[in-house]
């Protein structure tokens, strides 16, 4: 039992559990202490010193984010001494920062800018250090731009990359005035283990880490007379876009999203959820085929567990960290890439537009999707399957640029042919969603019955626990699946690459006997993706999750294999799951990469 500690903050008494920090205690009584290096998702660093407060009777100030409370403390968060020091901290950080705000991508969305304005950092501050520094702007990655001149060395990105994601692409290099955030041998981000997950972008307080934006190119395509611009929207976008346009977290804005895209001038507004359903058919059948090979044919070469492949951050992670398990990754492409391949083949034919005149755009909660679209494996239509990927944030920016009052837009529906989706496709956006969608379909294929969960909600695979396990026993299957009778299908769900690493280490050690693993690179799954509105924290991610499951429940169709447009696609084009056309367009292989 931890003890209760009594103290006062700004003369207000407060009682908190032992081990609580001053910052947390202040929050309890609604006192906001400014912070920069602190982030709810990360361990405490205590290095920006912006959150310093005065303790009565103490000579030195205390970093409130790192200092646990003690009995009888009298804390002043806004004493002259604390204020002056805090203002100094902000002035110092500004002096080290290329404060070129009007030209900055993060203008208006920068924590340092906010604090500078709050504390009125005038012009007669300290000496501008930028002219004395050599800095690099790394824009070689298709996903992430890293601009050292904007960096305030708070190390949120380093902690994100090393703790939350266990990737280790970003680290602190050099010391003193030369200290900076860098990569292995200062190589550009795209040459190192960076998975492009963009979680660092979500947590960077300034414009030092941003997504590479393709907005202007998309505007140009939209305005190009000969081009037919097709846009797809990922599941997680519809539960987060509102946040970037003044709405509360957790609002479902699907209809407004569609309406906005149409207003922006996209020719076909379609849904990635459609190909999410398609992924389930292909990947579900792949799983069943592998199980058959393992259990019936006793094929020694069959690789289990099967892991999902929808998260490009996860795919690049396994390419770097566990290349020996690449054959365990589903060959099914991600929904984005399946969509791209079909847009320039099946869809082009349907709407009678030459594929070279189709421009395929996707709106993703993700920065790694930009990289995925650029992969050489992703040109099976004969063209670049997905031409440009925009993040949720970029779309919000386009909507603002177009002067659209998003909140007042009437709801609109997706176009047909590749716009219909099931609730199973929607939940791809949440951790555990692909697993749940796959189980809803696979179980029914095998047994002819619905999954034995109330309302089809497979709750054991839901939630925010980093690694979750579930077992489903297959009983009384259809005759052709007799070999699965009594088999306990062991499933595992992990989100965040630190958890992915944990799971893969366990697989490698042979201590787990999973059949199927769902891995999403980002905390919370795609809804917590690196392209989603900033800020992010567990509370926000939980609200988006709840919205996604609401959207699922509201759908008339809840199972991927019942999506009528998917059924029609097989009938008219693909013929059968894992068939020849599927192999050509919808499946691929990945490759081993360096370990640094």
């Amino acid at each position: 039992m931890s003890e209760i500690i009594n103290l006062t903050i700004d003369n207000v008494p407060v009682s908190v559990k032992e081990g609580t920090t001053i910052l947390e205690a202040a929050k309890k009584i609604n006192v906001r202490i400014p912070t920069l290096c602190y982030h709810q998702d990360l361990c405490v660093a205590g290095n920006c010193r912006v959150c310093v407060v005065e303790q009565k009777g103490a000579d030195r100030l205390l970093p409130s984010c790192a200092m646990p409370v003690s009995e009888g403390m009298e804390i002043l968060t806004n004493s002259l001494k604390a204020r002056n020091a805090r203002k100094h901290m902000i002035e110092l950080l500004v002096s080290e920062h290329r404060a070129d705000c009007t030209r900055c991508y993060k203008n208006g969305n920068c924590e340092l800018q906010e604090l500078s304005s709050e504390y009125i950092i005038g012009e007669d501050g300290f000496i501008d250090l930028i002219p004395y520094k050599e800095y690099t702007i790394d824009h070689y990655s298709p996903s992430i731009i890293k601009d050292d001149s904007k960096c305030i060395r708070c190390q949120r990105c380093v902690r994100t990359c090393n703790e939350l994601q266990k990737i280790g692409a970003l680290a602190v290099a050099y010391k003193g005035k030369d200290m900076k955030i860098s990569t292995f041998f200062e190589k550009p981000m795209f040459e190192v283990v960076c998975t492009n997950c963009g979680q660092c972008i979500n947590r960077c307080p300034t414009g030092a880490l941003t997504e590479k934006t393709y907005i202007d190119r998309v505007w140009a395509e939209i305005n190009h007379e000969d081009k037919h611009v097709v846009v797809q929207t990922a599941p997680a976008v519809r539960v987060a876009l509102g946040e970037a346009l003044g709405m509360e977290p957790g609002e479902i804005v699907t209809g407004k999203l569609v309406a906005a895209l149409r207003r922006l001038g996209f020719d076909s507004v379609l849904d990635t959820d459609f190909t999410a359903d398609l992924t389930i058919i292909e990947e579900g059948n792949e799983l069943l085929q592998r199980l058959k090979k393992a259990l019936v044919d006793k094929d020694p070469d069959v690789r289990l567990p099967l892991t999902t492949s929808c998260s490009p951050g996860w795919v690049k992670f396994i390419e770097h960290a566990f290349p020996e398990y690449l054959d365990n990754v589903s060959t099914a492409k991600s929904p984005q890439q399946m969509f791209g391949a079909l847009a320039k083949t099946f869809y082009a034919k349907k709407i009678k537009v030459a594929p070279e005149n189709i421009v395929s755009i996707s709106i993703m909660p993700c920065t790694a999707k930009k990289y995925e679209a650029d992969r050489p494996e992703m040109r099976s239509s004969g063209y670049k399957d997905v031409d440009y990927v925009l993040t949720t944030r970029e779309l919000a920016l386009m909507i603002r640029q177009a002067g659209i009052d998003f909140a007042s837009l009437p709801d609109d529906d997706y176009d047909s042919i590749m716009g219909e989706s099931s609730g199973a496709g929607v939940i791809f956006g949440a951790t555990g969603g692909v697993m749940e969608a796959a189980l809803r379909t696979a179980y029914e294929i095998v047994t002819g019955r619905e999954v034995p969960f109330k309302n089809l909600n497979i709750t054991p695979v839901r939630g925010m626990e980093g690694v979750r396990e579930a077992t489903i026993k297959i009983e009384d299957p259809l005759p052709e699946w007799k070999f699965l009778d009594g088999v306990e299908l062991k499933c595992c769900v992990a989100h965040g690459l630190a958890n992915a690493k944990k799971v893969m280490d366990a697989v490698k050690a042979g201590t787990v006997g999973y059949h199927f693993i769902e891995i999403m690179a980002c905390p919370g799954g795609c809804l917590g993706g690196g392209g989603q509105p900033i800020p992010t924290n567990e509370e926000i991610r939980e609200k988006r999750t709840a919205a996604i499951y609401r959207e699922d429940e509201n759908k008339p169709i809840r199972k991927s294999h019942e999506n009528p447009e998917v059924i029609r696609l097989y009938k008219e084009f693909l013929k059968e799951p894992l068939g020849e056309i599927s192999h050509k367009l919808l499946h691929t292989h990945y490759r081993a990469r360096n370990r640094y």
Binding site: N84, E96, F126, M179
Partner: protein, 393 residues
């Protein structure tokens, strides 16, 4: 001149070959008695910070945990300090004995000497000495073992928590405190970390008893201290002197007759101008009369040929380089102080900018994460305030 000389002591460097009997005698006593002796001796950390050594041992002894460590901080990096090098080369057995006794009373079975990278040349001799010492410990049925860990030359790694990080294979950056090393040090385990000289002093205390140590020095500053004397002096070198002398007496003994200022405690210490020599006492802050200045032992003497602007510039250059870069006040503050005095000197900023810099230095003192950033203000303020005209013209 002879009457002006301070008394030279020979406690630390006296080459006593009785490690075995000192260890035997101490091992035969209760841990509480040993710690009490250390506490009553009044010994304080000789690295400069002056934390009571006995208390440090006691806190670690009382800390829960079956894995504990004793670390000898030999990362002697303060500009103008070179006494630990001498102690480790002349009387390493005293340091080792201090560590073994500390291990005994705290429950630590493993000790490390964190040796400054530039002192690597001491390694062969030190390892030889450790091997001999281990044989002695075996004979005494003591399982304590010592290993040397060599640093790589970063000044910040002398800061205890950065030192632990460095030993753990990580970047040498100070940690947040609390927790303190006595409960969570190397590898998160309770750890005693003492300066080389501190450990050497414990040897004398255990050999002669706390009273003899207490007889030396004054009030809150007991015992003797090894000083590294450098700069404008006819007699640079290492001297063991009694705590509590005035700086005037020191200058009379070691100065060249034209001493303008003494930098006490290295780059992170204080600069004392001639007019304050008389009332400055060398010792830990406490109930001493006048202004007392603690020191890790560095005494840099400057005569009137020296530009104090250059001296400060040199120190700031050092800090700009040696800050770990982790916390804002230290990383950016040091750069601003350096560029700031340059700008004032060049006339690019008015002399009143020095006041803004003094305020900044004060902020650094109260906000920096570790002793490095906190103590930049010491030299900065004491030089700027006492030699303002030299900063401007």
């Amino acid at each position: 001149m002879a009457n002006k000389k301070l008394k030279r002591l020979d406690l630390v460097f006296k080459d006593e070959k009785d490690t075995e009997s000192v260890l035997k005698k101490t091992f035969s006593r209760s841990n509480a008695d040993v710690i009490n002796d250390l506490i009553s001796s009044g010994l304080k950390g000789r690295g400069g910070a002056g934390f009571p050594t006995g208390l440090k041992w006691k806190l670690t002894a009382d800390a829960k945990g079956d894995e504990k460590y004793v670390i000898c901080n030999a990362d002697e990096g303060e500009p103008g300090t070179f006494k630990d090098r001498e102690i480790l080369s002349k009387v390493p057995h005293k340091v080792l004995a201090g560590m073994a006794i500390c291990g005994r009373v705290t429950g630590a079975k493993k000790g490390f000497i964190y040796l400054r990278g530039e002192y690597r040349f001491l390694l062969p001799g030190l390892n030889e000495e450790i091997e001999k010492f281990h044989k002695l410990l075996e004979k005494l049925d003591c399982r304590f073992r010592v290993e040397v860990f060599t640093g790589s030359g970063a000044y910040i790694c002398g800061e205890e928590s950065a030192l632990f990080e460095s030993m753990e294979g990580k970047r040498g950056e100070p940690r947040n405190k609390p927790p303190f090393p006595t409960t969570s040090g190397y590898r998160g385990k309770p750890t005693v970390i003492n300066n080389v000289e501190t450990l050497a002093h414990t040897y004398s205390i255990f050999k002669y008893g706390p009273e003899k140590f207490q007889d030396l020095g004054v009030q809150d500053s007991r015992g003797s201290k090894v000083f590294s004397v450098s700069g404008d002096t006819p007699n640079p070198g290492i001297y063991e002197l009694e705590f509590g002398m005035t700086l005037q007496k020191f200058v009379d003994d070691f100065g060249d007759g034209d001493t303008k200022a003494v930098q006490v405690g290295g780059a992170s210490g204080f600069c004392v101008p001639r007019k304050k020599f008389g009332k400055t006492i060398i010792g830990y802050q406490g109930r001493l009369q006048g202004e007392s200045l603690p020191t890790g032992g560095s005494m840099m003497i400057f005569n009137s040929s020296r530009s104090m602007y250059n001296v400060l510039h040199n120190y700031l250059d050092f800090f700009v380089e040696e800050s770990c870069g982790q916390c804002t006040p230290c990383r950016v503050g040091t750069q601003q102080l350096l560029l700031g005095i340059e700008a004032v000197k060049k006339g690019e900023r008015s002399s009143s900018y020095l006041d803004k810099l003094l305020e900044l230095a004060e902020t650094m003192r109260v906000t920096a994460k570790c002793g490095l950033g906190q103590s930049v203000a010491n030299s900065f303020a004491s030089i700027v305030e006492n030699f303002k005209e030299e900063m401007i013209y």
